[in-house]
Symmetry: C2
Subunit: 203 residues, 2 copies
DNA sequence: TCTTTTTCATACCGATCGATACTAAATTGC
DNA sequence: GCAATTTAGTATCGATCGGTATGAAAAAGA
């Protein structure tokens, strides 16, 4: 019983997500959030709790609705295809929305006041989780002979994630999708045990 | 004439730099800055102007006092040595001070409120400047036969900067210096026209 | 010594921060 | 229709934000 909600929770969450994507956790004020969602302050509080809870909900939605290409990539047959797929879709996502370039997982909370520390750590953990998934996938590739036994899965996974994070920074600085794609092509040009047919690398 | 300053401006600036390094432009409050510098609020204002001016001074000091390895690297004879030098010193700098891991050029202002936009743009410009310097250096390398004519200097420079930015993010997440060095080693393993003697790459 | 000038330090400014009391409106069960 | 319950919206909370007015303290020139 009682009065029914006049706004769609998922829709408001997506609007809040976009604000966090653009301004980060601390850079996004409730004034921004109410304007973007069209929901008054108490409405957001009753629906999501406090600001941190709202951000965590936005994080979850970001992973499931925007980073879904990541787990999908892990299913591809070779490690090179996995990384290619991730790089390609990351470059696309980072430039898909001109009003919020880059990646919420990076810009959400990289550095900030002590109040933002739990949120920052949550993003660190989430990124580490993705890196572990990549590492495990490379381990499997080694067992399958896709990667040489000398390959260090942990380092390769860290390398791929590092390039991804750097791409997010560059996208936020205004890099074009084509430039990001060119960067990923070079980043992949020396993938262990493979030769890029397009460039003719390596020497 | 008049009363003389009781604090050293450069010393206070360095303390403020460290706060910005750790918390970013907006995450650093004047309470943080006064505690770190030991200088009361009006002292900071009279010495530096407002918060944005203080940050820009801190930026300049960061470039000259911490990123001095970057212009020095450009003087090295080969492009590979240039990038090796930069990667190596970046990994070291990003983990040198455990209380402020990463890079001020990235964490200073990646995303934030509209108030921080000028500062964010200043960092974007500064990073772009470094990228241009790298690109010019690679162009020279092509003329010298150090890099093949097919090499795309702009892409190579963007790639190196992207790895650097990603390293800063990873360092802020707690990565060890050894891990960062391993990442740079892989990032370099495919440098055009060269073979890494230590790893025996490429295939 | 006295005046002038600059710095130091307390106390405070309006604005904005995240978060809430409170009242009116709307919906359900009885 | 009435009571119970939930939401919407206004108005506001204390705390903190960046930034200053103000007067005491200290140094230099006359």
């Amino acid at each position: 019983m009682g009065r029914q909600r006049e706004f769609d929770v998922e829709q408001a969450l997506d609007a809040a997500l976009c604000v966090f994507w653009r301004k980060g956790y601390e850079g996004a004020s409730y004034t921004d959030l109410t304007q973007a969602t069209g929901v008054e302050r108490p409405g957001l509080y009753s629906a999501f709790g406090n600001k941190e809870a709202l951000f965590r909900r936005a994080m979850e939605r970001y992973f499931t609705h925007y980073l879904d290409y990541f787990p999908a990539a892990l299913e591809l047959p070779t490690s090179r295809e996995v990384v290619e797929h991730i790089f390609h879709h990351a470059a696309e996502l980072h430039t898909r929305h001109p009003d919020r370039p880059g990646c919420l997982g990076i810009h959400g909370a990289l550095a900030g006041s002590d109040d933002a520390e739990p949120v920052r750590q949550a993003l660190v953990d989430a990124r580490a989780k993705g890196e572990v998934m990549l590492c495990d996938r490379f381990e499997r590739a080694k067992q399958e002979g896709d990667l040489p036994p000398s390959a260090n899965s942990a380092v390769l996974a860290a390398y791929v994630m590092t390039v991804l994070h750097g791409m997010a920074v560059q996208a936020k600085a205004g890099f074009s999708r084509d430039m990001l794609e060119a960067i990923t092509e070079h980043a992949l040009s020396t993938w262990p045990g493979n030769v890029s047919p397009s460039t003719g690398n390596p020497f």
